[in-house]
């Protein structure tokens, strides 16, 4: 009886343990490190499984590490796969028809939207939904756009050997040293657009012959790409939004170039007063840092000198920011200053008044002043 019982249990184990529906061996997985999404070009693929003919809308590019070329356990080569489809899921299905592995996205680092895609609100919104809704995607991947097609990014040949996705995350992490470098995770990017009715910025990553460069932000209004900012505007945006994590501000002292190095940048917004239907807002920018480049036969260890330099830096910041604010208010009429967010959070009653016609109020009734406060704390190791 006992033997029969044991046998029964063993047989039961065999029956139940073999039936794992979701087992995918690690060898059968294709780790997607980066995804590029472009607007489709060229004729649509004729698909027989569709009742109504849907046009191909997207061109997807997937970057997988080439595990066959691994050296000493490290993979440095990557391969890209492209597919055109009317939707993401259909694209994957089409790709799988000629693909021996199964895509997994746990390690996806980078998501790149092509320029044409960004210009089409419908396509952009669909893709934001797809990557936010799909259970397989993580929300900590970095999001970029580019000045042309996303697929061009993956053809870049960086000088240092390595996986392209880690090259890109490396650039993004340099945001703490270079203000103009952009870094935003998918979660923060969608949150920004969500909180601001589809207005926001996205960092741009542009290919050139030696690799990739991230030095501009692109403006989005109503889920639609408008234009690339220039370097000054990019910096001003980062300062005004409290997103600057570090960088330098270069000023001229006579003929000498003086780079001011700041490791942090603080921003505060204040609502000063409301008068005659006008809302007066002050942006208070505060930073402290060091100057570690001057000229050898002049002394920098001098309070008056330092204060004079500080005033100059403050002027640079204030001018850049004021120009940016003016452009946003008068030319583009888009709130990229975090103002909507500020009013909603800290002055909900004021926000309720301006909420309905925010763009119009932003253009006509909001007066913005920028004040900078710069402190040079250190000057390096010689006088």
């Amino acid at each position: 009886m006992r033997k029969a019982k044991t046998l029964f249990i063993l047989l039961g184990c065999m029956l139940f343990l073999s039936g794992c529906w979701d087992k995918v061996e690690i060898e059968d997985r294709a780790f997607v490190l980066a995804i590029g999404v472009d607007k489709a070009e060229g004729p649509s693929e004729k698909s027989e499984d569709l009742v109504t003919e849907a046009e191909d809308k997207y061109l997807f590019t997937f970057v997988n590490p080439d595990t066959a070329k691994a050296e000493e356990g490290k993979v440095n080569e990557y391969v890209t796969f492209q597919v055109q489809a009317p939707s993401y899921t259909l694209g994957i299905t089409r790709l799988l028809q000629s693909f021996s592995k199964f895509h997994t996205y746990e390690h996806t680092k980078v998501l790149i939207f092509g320029r044409q895609l960004m210009e089409d609100p419908l396509l952009l919104k669909s893709m934001l939904d797809n990557f936010g809704r799909g259970h397989q995607f993580n929300s900590s991947m970095y999001v970029f756009t580019t000045n042309n097609r996303a697929s061009d990014i993956f053809e870049a040949k960086p000088k240092m050997k390595g996986l392209l996705a880690y090259y890109i995350t490396g650039i993004a992490d340099n945001e703490k040293y270079a203000t103009r470098v952009g870094k935003v995770t998918f979660l923060n990017f969608t949150r920004q657009l969500f909180d601001n009715n589809g207005d926001g910025v996205i960092p741009s990553l542009d290919p050139h012959e030696n690799g990739l460069t991230s030095s501009y932000l692109a403006m989005i209004k109503g889920y639609k790409y408008i234009r690339h900012m220039d370097g000054r505007e990019t910096k001003a945006w980062k300062w005004l939004n409290g997103e600057a994590k570090g960088g330098i501000i270069e000023i001229q002292d006579g003929d000498i170039s003086v780079p001011y190095n700041y490791p942090s940048f603080k921003r505060d917004i204040y609502l000063d007063k409301i008068e005659n239907n006008k809302i007066y807002i002050t942006y208070d920018l505060e930073t402290e840092g060091s100057v570690e480049e001057y000229i050898i036969d002049k002394k920098l260890l001098d309070n008056d000198k330092l204060q004079q330099l500080e005033r100059k830096i403050e002027q640079v910041i204030e001018n850049d920011c004021k120009d940016f604010v003016k452009k946003m208010q008068e030319e583009y009429n888009v709130d990229l200053l975090g103002l909507r967010d500020y009013l909603y959070k800290f002055h909900p009653r004021v926000y309720e008044d301006v909420m309905k016609d925010f763009d119009k109020h932003f253009q006509d009734n909001i007066v913005i002043n920028v004040k900078a406060d710069v402190k040079i704390r250190r000057i390096g190791k010689i006088e």
């Binding site: 529906w21 979701d22 993580n138 979660l187 909180d195 909900p348």
Partner: protein, 366 residues
């Protein structure tokens, strides 16, 4: 009344309160509150906790009037034999739907995040069948399971939540207390499902040697839950912001999914999170399951509750499969817990206590 000498200690009562109440609700709670209360969602929870505490203490008062007796026993005493049995049957119905709902939501989450191709039948049935094993062990076994699982659940939970703190944006909690009064009344019902479970004390306190000790431990349990909920809600709110949080179905899982631990082989923690969460749902299910079988044994006047455990499996399974999709599964608690549930949790115990006072009924004193 013959019992199998099952007794529960005051510490175990705390565990039962905590592990029963924390169930499927915790995953969706921040989003549901954000819909009605906006950025004040975290503040609604202590209010809900206070309300729950009042009614939980009414239940405890009732139980202390009839020491070492459970609801099916003293209900027959207070309102007569047949009405008492009908009342017990109502609690049984409530329990069975509660279990089915828990199992169904577990199934939806598991299918959406972990086991995409595994059939729902397997997920649901394995969940219920494992619970039957614990429930057949009786009340003492259940209390011990809670005791064992408590550290297994909360220590890893805290460890998992910590790495996500880097993404916090405190200003997302603003504006605080804006239009608060208008938010409270529409938000409290959303808490019904998240705080549901302490009504089971109507049964469990009856197994205590000295029910007076239940006051302290049950209240500690409820405070613990309130704090846990507040922390989780604040974390989700500060990471996602109100607008994104509203859109999320399972914000806690999304929170864990957003964590990136670079350099580790296990870059994503959501699988661990789900595994931990299964503990909480499992303990919720066994706790209600026992109440269900115990009620049935009292209605049918049997000595044991064991024999009812297995026959109920297909019934629970069937009820769990009734909702067609995730949208229906989420509507289920709205109608069920808000009305039927609140009557059983708030109205019935208070009425029983009042009637017992008027008729000057009391259990044997200690």
């Amino acid at each position: 009344m013959i019992r199998n000498n099952d007794t529960i200690s005051p510490y175990q009562i705390s565990m039962i309160v905590i592990m029963t109440i924390i169930g499927v609700g915790v995953f969706s709670l921040p989003a549901q509150l954000a819909k009605t209360a906006g950025s004040d969602c975290w503040f609604i929870i202590p209010i809900g906790g206070l309300i729950s505490m009042v009614f939980m203490n009414i239940i405890l008062l009732l139980n202390n009037r009839f020491p070492r007796k459970t609801l099916p026993e003293y209900a027959q005493n207070i309102i007569g034999k047949i009405p008492g049995k009908i009342l017990t049957a109502l609690y049984a119905v409530y329990s069975i739907v509660f279990i089915a709902y828990e199992v169904r939501v577990v199934n939806e989450v598991i299918k959406a995040f972990l086991l995409f191709r595994t059939p729902s039948e397997v997920v649901i049935l394995s969940m219920i069948l494992i619970s039957t094993y614990a429930v057949r062990g009786g009340v003492e076994c259940i209390a011990r399971v809670m005791e064992i699982f408590f550290p297994l659940l909360f220590i890893p939970l805290i460890l998992i939540l910590i790495p996500g703190v880097t993404d916090i944006e405190i200003s997302n909690m603003m504006p605080v207390f804006y239009n608060l009064s208008s938010k409270i009344f529409i938000s409290i019902p959303a808490l019904a499902i998240s705080f549901a479970g302490y009504e089971l004390l109507l049964y469990y306190v009856g197994f205590m040697e000295n029910p007076k000790k239940a006051y302290k431990s049950a209240n500690i349990g409820l405070i613990f839950i309130t704090i846990t909920y507040v922390i989780i809600t604040i974390l989700c709110l500060t990471v996602f912001g109100v607008n994104l949080l509203r859109e999320s179905i399972w914000p806690l899982l999304a929170y864990v999914r957003n964590i990136n631990l670079p350099g580790l082989f296990l870059e994503r923690l959501d699988a661990i999170m789900l595994a931990i969460w299964l503990f909480t749902v499992f303990t919720t299910i066994i706790s209600i399951y026992f109440v269900l079988t115990y009620s049935l044994s009292k209605i049918l006047n049997t000595k044991e509750q064991k024999q009812f455990v297995l026959p109920l499996v297909p019934v629970i399974y069937f009820i769990a499969l009734i909702p067609d999709n995730i949208a229906q599964a989420r509507e289920m608690p709205d109608a069920f817990f808000k009305y039927f549930g609140s009557i059983l949790v708030f109205v019935v115990p208070s009425l029983l206590l009042i009637i017992a006072r008027i008729r000057k009924l009391r259990g044997e004193s200690l």
